[in-house]
């Protein structure tokens, strides 16, 4: 329609007559169009025969439009997930001590950079290409990858950037419990291990096209009698538990920061050093929540299941709300700092709610999401006390938030899946069968599959991460995992490693 504007013409004032003619022609044109189309349709019964099949088969135009809609959805979601980096860096820097802030900032940037390069070179290949149940063996450097990812119809590079943002999240989570005493060279080394190998290979088990945990429970695969595979819609386990467990391994191998005093009951002094900048941390939490709307709803990789993405978004919201409530009330009632409304606990409760709902978000009802979130707040509260009890120094709560609430969320599917939700058509996860948990009369199968998947991934990751961290800790200076004591006790890590303070004093 009038798109081809070629040679311009002369000034011409459309006369009334011409206008009238145009109007008339339009009117007759419309009538004529309808009449003629109908005439032809009636006269050729063969044409009337096709509608039924036409209604089930998508035309080339429709397929193309759907792919565009789904690509827009996936990309916007990918951008939101990437945006979580801003939230993570704020949260981690805000919770840190002021002398270790620059280190947090630069590690987060570097981890993202190295993750991008490695996920292009090997990570995506290990995780999403075909191979066997344990590892993908194709598509290194994206070479040989098809134009669209599996049956989703979205371009492979759109899928790549979405999954890169997930890998990057895992990498950033890992740094959380290791803040304040990890050398920058140590960070470089373990980051290569995490984003190049551990995350994509173990992730393949759950999300790879032939991952053994995903296929578990079906004939010819592991535990065929189980009848259920391991499900992790958006990554409570794959992203959060893996990230949190590696972080725990790092914290264990590193030991606590110098001067860190643990507080195990109300009589002892000590506890986590106070956050150097709580506004930074709180805003970071809101930005993480915002980004989670890409993380969970975007994991459909498709907007065709409109009900599904609406439900996921609502469930994500409600779990976060609920998680923050219990994590605010428990320390208020039980201490430490009884009688105070504690901001860091509330923030971590909010995040724990988000982490927990990440796995079951598609399959549970809003009420289920609230209950899962409430319990996630409890998990993060007791998890934090537990780390303090075992004298594990986790400056931001990465272990209770990501590892523990991730495990809880993964298991919760087996309890709260309502058996109502499923759809056909390409989707990021296989949601063609409905899933019913114990509380909805679905029996123990789903819970067992979740338990096996969670346990296998948690333990495998922990063992491999402990070995990785331990090996790096034995490297000769300056490549070993932990900085020299002088770096911690002097003017601090930022000056030592980066020659700069977060907040420079000026004349």
């Amino acid at each position: 329609m009038g798109r081809k504007r070629s040679t311009p013409a002369v000034v011409h004032q459309l006369t009334k007559t011409e206008k009238w003619k145009i109007g008339l022609t339009i009117f007759t044109g419309k009538i004529l169009g309808l009449l003629v189309v109908l005439a032809i349709m009636k006269m050729l019964p063969g044409i009337m025969a096709t509608p039924a099949s036409a209604a089930e088969t998508y035309t080339a135009h429709e397929t193309s439009m759907m792919n565009s809609i789904n690509t827009v959805w996936t990309l916007v979601a990918a951008f939101l997930v990437f945006g979580m980096q801003a939230g993570f860096v704020m949260l981690e820097a805000g919770f840190a001590r002021s002398k270790e802030v620059v280190n947090v900032l630069l590690e987060c940037i570097f981890d993202t950079a190295i993750c991008g390069i490695l996920f292009w070179a090997i990570g995506y290949a290990f995780m999403f290409s075909h191979g066997n149940g344990f590892i993908g063996k194709n598509w290194f450097f994206l070479s040989g990858a098809p134009t669209t990812y599996e049956a989703t119809g979205i371009p492979i590079l759109a899928h790549w950037i979405f999954q890169f943002a997930f890998a990057d999240t895992t990498s950033t989570i890992t740094s959380g419990a290791m803040i304040g005493r990890t050398s920058f060279r140590g960070d470089i080394l373990y980051s290569i291990g995490v984003t190049g190998f551990i995350y994509p290979i173990i992730g393949h088990w759950a999300w790879g096209p032939d991952g053994w945990l995903a296929l578990m429970g079906s004939p010819g695969n592991f535990f065929p009698g189980l009848g259920q595979g391991f499900r992790d819609f958006a990554g409570s386990t794959v992203v959060h538990t893996i990230g949190g467990v590696i972080s725990l391994a790092g914290a264990l191998v590193l030991g606590p920061r110098i001067g860190r005093i643990f507080k195990r009951d109300d009589k002892e002094k000590g506890g986590l050093p106070p956050a150097h900048n709580l506004p930074l941390a709180a805003v970071g939490a809101f930005i993480l929540w915002f980004g989670w709307y890409g993380f969970n709803p975007g994991s459909t990789l498709s907007a065709m299941d409109a009900d599904g993405i609406g439900r996921i978004a609502a469930n994500t919201t409600l779990a976060a709300c609920a998680g923050s409530l219990t994590a605010m009330l428990l320390p208020l009632w039980l201490g430490p700092n009884k009688g105070k409304y504690d901001l860091p606990f509330t923030i971590n409760g909010l995040l724990a709610g988000l982490v927990a709902i990440t796995c079951p978000c598609y399959w549970v009802s809003p009420l289920g999401a609230i209950l899962i979130g409430l319990i996630a707040g409890v998990v993060v509260y007791y998890g934090t006390l537990l780390l303090e009890h075992f004298r594990i120094d986790d400056p931001v709560g990465a272990v209770p938030v990501h590892c523990m609430a991730g495990i809880w969320g993964t298991l919760s599917l087996g309890l709260f899946a309502s058996g109502q939700y499923g759809t056909t058509g390409p989707n990021g996860a296989d949601v063609s069968a409905t899933v019913k948990g114990i509380f909805y009369g679905g029996g123990w199968d789903v819970f067992e599959a979740q338990l096996i998947g969670s346990a296998v991934i948690t333990m495998s990751t922990f063992i491999i991460a402990m070995i990785l961290m331990w090996v790096i800790s034995k490297f000769p200076y300056p490549w070993k995992l932990r900085v020299e004591p002088a770096a911690e006790t002097g003017p601090g890590l930022d000056i030592f490693e980066h020659g700069a303070s977060a907040y420079a004093t000026q004349d």
Copy 2:
């Protein structure tokens, strides 16, 4: 498609080709008309039976795709609106004194959490379900709600999360003028009142499916002779005036912070305590502006009216630009602080522009948006002076920005609606009829309807909010609205209520 747009507006450059095509079409149209009429008269007399459906009915595929597009649009908009929480918390914390920052942060998180739970349980039911003109009576706990919201075709949970983000905005606005002396328990109590009852019930009047203000002016409803209902496209009144008025009631009942000195002319010392962190506040303003692109354009709940969403986005931009200009120039020229380019005033002018355009954004032209924004900047300037004159302590300017500019924006529709814009098809607001304001020769009807709606909602909200705040202020310690004087005069509210400082000093 734009059938009802009759007013000529656009200058179009007619190329030779187009002109030629028109001529040809007129000619061929006549020939064809003759041929076809002849053909049809011979062939099928009964052809008129079905024609309409073919061209106007959407196929199942098309309907499904449209729903997906609209759901993507609504959800992305919802995420942006939710993202405004990060902006609000930055703005409020940045403008606050450093000793009351943690309180601001935690209240914002808690308000969001309680809003999520209450809006799921009762708020959405009160506001959007059918009942009578004053309150919705169904869908409590979302139980019994249909799968899609009204005629929009978007899933009910997508509509829920979009509307939750609006409710949450109202809740956060409320806290603005109450910063620095409200007890946390008091915040819990009034938040339940605001997000569980006041906002959704009064909101029902304007946005409910049978709201009495929305239906006003039509036969069988209030003021049938008026011929116009109350219109509030994205919530200048429903969100901003309601939030701002409740905030004013809170500030009145609380009284000013201890030590707050008012400055009523250039000779007096005092005025608002200086913002403790202006970068935080300024970045917050930009994030709010960013989120407003979900707030206004997303309120269509549909992307089918592409012209509409483009126009709303452009109008939103221009009003914000204009608002910041007058709010920068007036204090520069008239004081306080004559000769200085004042950042807080400029920020609040920008926000006032956004608040004002929120109601009329669909129906005004870009020029109208600029004028509305310019006046919003004036409103916020004199509004701020007025509060100072009456010794009302509003630490962030919530009352001038949200209440006053909200009223201005609501009324401005009656002045600036250009009478050009309208569309059919499901939309968040009924925009099937064009709206023409006084300045475009549309007479006083629209203005009157806006005046009635604004006055009714403003006064009702004020009275109810005053009662609510007054009752809470009479609660026994520690549940009463205002903290003990010791909490304000000692180390400050953050230590007293939360046991933490925003910026901890470390060794």
Copy 3:
């Protein structure tokens, strides 16, 4: 389609309805012609031969849906680009000295405000309307603009807001190297010059419908023998080089801040004053990266080329990752501050990668993007040293990041364009022909065209900007470009111009 945009001649008042009707009539005319001819031929089996042509024509429903998808895509991208303002203000404020922070914040808000008004009044007209190769001559105040932008099918106001966000980016970049000594009145004056005239007029050369650099290389235009026009997909030159060059002109005319000591080898003391708030700067960098996902992928103005937007997003990611790596490693190895992992350099490397990929993002492979990014990191490193050598005070690195990396990115298309990518259909840039660079055997033509375009725009902008800045510097006080020395040496610019400190001390 519609590639040959020649000068429109006739201005004819055609209403929206008429235009739509004409389009429909032309379309219906064609269909009718086809159908009636077939009917007259007695509707023989020949009708079965038509599906091919039917499959190429979009129905009205399909066209409408595509326009909605593309509008959603363009608007979401516009919002993300606007969101970069939050990132810029954080980056600039974070890198600044604490006494010049409020000035940075307010200039950024004011620049946005004035840009909005000017881009509505004249900027969009100069840049995107038809006129001649050097300037657009229509659509002032958007008056007379068509309902959709050219062949894209997106509403003109959606295109306007997207392009406004680009203009605003240029404006903000400009302020970067001028921080700390520019008077606010000076900022007002040069901002009007930049966003009202320089950016849109020079931008017209590359992006206008008849821009002479865009049409260069084709018959009847400049250098017809070249066979290639100047290409700048998302604005390495149009936005970043123009912004960076004007910033350089400003810094040259202003001279360095008082007290700024330059450090030209490791023995000298001095160098850029340390950033007053590195968390602010680092978070700003992440938000800029996030916003860049609107900048580059959104520049298609269409989601129909799903492969294209996926590839652009992935390339953008990889270039940023690569840029940060070289910009971290070079100062680590070569100094200044040898042996330290430098955060500001890394941040600017990341941004340089983003700037560089902005021009070639559509046409290069992921590997190409990585190489372009790696070199961008090198450019920013040596560029920064070069400015230090010439004693040019650029507080945030606007010149190396935007001007230099912008030039590099523009040229890189001539080296790395892989010759694989192109598509038909309306798109923001003409990508109907594939582009092949030197390294892929494409010969020197593309490189030459890029070199000419980059050189012409860089030099023209530099000369005009020098004149503009010089003239303003000669204005009488208080309108002259640089503040009085007392404003810099006393309590600082913030107190002098704005009567406020970024971080007020409170009792």
